[in-house]
Subunit: 163 residues, 2 copies
DNA sequence: AATTTATGTCAATAAAGCTGACATATTTTC
DNA sequence: GAAAATATGTCAGCTTTATTGACATAAATT
């Protein structure tokens, strides 16, 4: 395999000029966002490691705590993952006593999800370092900026599709 | 103290009350940040899928473009991943003609990394939808808020350790 | 000459996602 | 009441992106 499989056969010349001064592309925020998120999830990751859980467990515990009684379908919609992906994580959390399932009172096919006391404690323990980090990031920020950050984060989300 | 000594002790009772009204924990920002990042990376993910690349390739292409001439060690430090993880991704990008390696002029053990023309084009194509998303999220924001968001994202990062 | 450093590579493993197929219980529709 | 749709569960296999450990090579430093 001596030939180039890539976009252009021939000799790719390396470019030495940096890419900083682009008017159209906001590389600064893109990078800031990457680093911010990387470090933001590192705190809970470190805690979860001890219990043998991962980031996926965190998300499930978080949303079930925030929204007790949500169904499996709700959770799939929120996390935008597949049923099979969720199944393994959810099973482990139920087996470990952090989450309970209750058949829906109206529709008994549904499994409504609730945190146990331990589940709630876990969610809090995971959120605590993240919350401290947020506090720290907001130090000295005006009320306007705080609201502005919320609006910004909100605006970064996909627009909801009509259905 | 007789009950619930651990997650598996006794009968875990489901809790039905939501967790919204906590003073100490900022669940709102935690959630906003999760959704914002999830959607933020979804655009490049969709583009990369067509080329058979993933999120890891994106990060490498991005940083090499931003910082042409950076070494493998620099990249490992930036991404906070292991040498072995980077190796596979980097090799694919080099084989596909997006990145080139040049032996360091001073220290010839080093491999300095440069984008090719295609590499630069790829980085731009990936950053473009993200940049549009950022623009949209900033719509109507004052200069103070824009600066505040940058300061917030910056503040979310780990403090650098002295070494 | 010996050691350290920068990088590469082989092998095995894990977490967390994916698709496809199929099963079960329950509700809704005809 | 039978048929279809829905909510969930599960089996099997695959992929991506990370991990650790071990070892190899070339070049720089001591």
């Amino acid at each position: 395999m001596s030939r180039q499989t890539g976009p252009k056969a021939g000799k790719p010349e390396p470019l030495a000029t940096p890419m900083e001064d682009t008017d159209i592309i906001d590389f600064e925020i893109i990078e800031l966002f990457f680093f911010a998120y990387r470090d933001f999830v590192s705190d809970p990751d470190a805690i979860l490691e001890k219990s043998g859980f991962g980031r996926a467990h965190h998300r499930v515990v978080h949303f079930v705590n925030r929204n007790p009684g949500m169904t499996v379908a709700d959770l799939l919609e929120t996390l935008k993952i597949t049923k099979q992906s969720l199944a393994r994580v959810l099973k482990q959390l139920i087996d470990s006593g952090y989450i309970r399932q209750v058949a829906g009172p109206e529709d008994r096919r549904q499994r409504k999800l609730y945190p146990t006391k331990s589940g709630r404690e876990l969610a809090l323990a995971l959120a605590e370092p993240q919350s401290r980090r947020i506090e720290r990031a907001f130090e000295g920020a005006s009320a306007e900026v705080r609201e502005g950050v919320k609006a910004f984060l909100s605006g970064m989300r996909d627009r909801q599709k009509a259905d």
